[in-house]
């Protein structure tokens, strides 16, 4: 792998993204719409919520509106990064393949895309974090941003995996919508989680630990080490699978002699 090739490729990928004005606009608008709708429609009553990632059953009492803002922030961050990663890998597959035929190593292409996704994840986490902070003051802002970053990374890498694996654009988008909608957009909702009869299943889904991290950071002083660790574990699994599939699909079948 050559470092200067990865740097150049990353710069060009960032240029490509910055020139897609509609994507950029949606990146700014979607979180505002999501969180704005929550702010306008959700009740302010205080409700007890269960913290799922602690050994003992601990309930915290928080305004429904605030916890909904946190929950939707995690979901929207995951959504955005998953779509972006899917777009980069699915849409550019054939162009990337040509780069490999011309001399790029598949891993150089993969890592440059990965760096671009990481940059987008950092940006998204801070942006969504500041938006939520605008609606109410979260207790530990930077830990909350870290939780959003974990959501971005977990689902960004899931989007990357889908983009590497699934050939059709529509099928890929459906796979992303399916999992994120069920997981981050529904089951991780603390309102649902506390009443669920199968909490174990929910705990095995990718958005569980980022969501728990975000809730703890927003309303409590509990440590988030475990949530961070397990989120990174999920990211690692998605990353390894993506590397294997991407490399297998892009590598040339015979060497030059």
């Amino acid at each position: 792998m050559k470092f200067h090739k990865i740097i150049l490729s990353t710069k060009l990928i960032m240029k490509m993204l910055s020139r897609r004005s509609i994507v950029i606009t949606l990146f700014f608008v979607i979180p505002i719409v999501f969180l704005g709708v929550v702010e306008l429609t959700t009740s302010s009553r205080e409700l007890p919520f269960m913290l799922g990632s602690l050994d003992e059953e601990i309930f915290i009492s928080v305004a429904e509106k605030q916890i909904s803002l946190v929950f939707f922030a995690v979901a929207v961050a995951g959504f955005l990064s998953a779509f972006l990663a899917h777009y980069l890998f699915q849409k550019n597959y054939l162009a990337n393949r040509r780069l490999v035929v011309c001399g790029y190593h598949p891993n150089e292409v993969l890592f440059s895309n990965l760096i671009a996704i990481l940059i987008a994840c950092v940006f998204t986490s801070f942006y969504v974090g500041f938006l939520v902070h605008h609606f109410f003051e979260v207790r530990h802002f930077f830990v909350f941003v870290l939780a959003l970053f974990l959501s971005c990374i977990v689902y960004g890498l899931y989007g990357m995996l889908v983009g590497c694996t699934v050939k059709g654009e529509l099928e890929g988008i459906l796979l992303i919508v399916l999992l994120i909608n069920i997981d981050a957009g529904w089951l991780q909702n603390p309102l649902f989680y506390a009443q669920s009869e199968q909490q174990e299943i929910i705990q095995y889904l990718p958005a569980f630990y980022p969501s728990q991290c975000a809730i703890k950071a927003s309303f409590t002083d509990y440590p988030v080490n475990n949530s961070v660790l397990y989120s990174l574990l999920y990211s690692g699994i998605f990353l390894i699978l993506s590397i294997i599939i991407f490399y297998h699909k892009l590598k040339l079948q015979h060497e030059k002699f």
Partner: protein, 202 residues
């Protein structure tokens, strides 16, 4: 010998697409392969350049090759200039050494004025010129062209043949695969791909 393919076999399920194809390409020659629709052209080319795994046989390429696919796939939001930069990096060509071949190709294929244009702003013919130019950027030992003159106007078509003649004189081997090969005298050797096999056209 720049390319030696021996007894290539490739099937998709029960359908055998390539049935024992052998091909030897010599240095500095121009070869043409005429194909019918659905005769396995794409599979043959993908097998030669290593895109796809063959089930039997072997392919050896003795040097660098350039490949111009039938359908150009580029990054819509990047300019022609940025594509040259990207692919120069792929070929390990230093930026300062790249100016001369880029200028040469822009002039020979007559698309200098689109240098700063994004792919999404270009016509099909201009994208095809870039497609060809990218495959030539490193002046490879072997050039494999799949329907290279698709979308070219008459002037560019003639420029294309001038260019390939020059390349041949410089010792570059050119392999052109097309549905329309009507100018057989341009080639040193011509083949027809039929029923998964190659037949030499005399």
């Amino acid at each position: 010998m720049i390319l030696h393919a021996k007894n290539i076999e490739k099937s998709y399920g029960k359908k055998k697409v390539l049935n024992g194809i052998s091909l030897k390409l010599k240095i500095g020659r121009m070869y043409g392969i005429a194909v019918e629709n659905g005769s396995g052209k794409s599979t043959l080319l993908k097998s030669l350049i290593g895109y796809t795994k063959i089930q039997k046989g072997s392919v050896a390429i003795n040097g660098d090759f350039g490949y111009c696919p039938q359908l150009p796939h580029f990054f819509d939001q990047l300019t022609v200039e940025e594509h040259f930069k990207y692919f120069c990096a792929a070929y390990d060509i230093e930026q300062r050494e790249a100016q001369s071949p880029i200028q040469f190709l822009l002039e020979r294929l007559n698309f200098q004025k689109y240098f700063k244009y994004r792919i999404s702003e270009l016509s099909g013919g201009t994208i095809q010129k870039l497609n060809l130019a990218i495959s030539l950027l490193n002046f490879p030992d072997l050039l494999i062209l799949d329907e290279p003159y698709n979308g070219f106007d008459w002037d560019t078509y003639l420029r294309f043949w001038d260019l390939t003649d020059d390349l041949k004189e410089k010792g570059i081997t050119v392999l052109i695969v097309s549905h329309f090969i009507n100018d057989l005298k341009r080639f040193d050797c011509s083949y027809e791909l039929k029923n998964g096999q190659l037949y030499e056209i005399s």
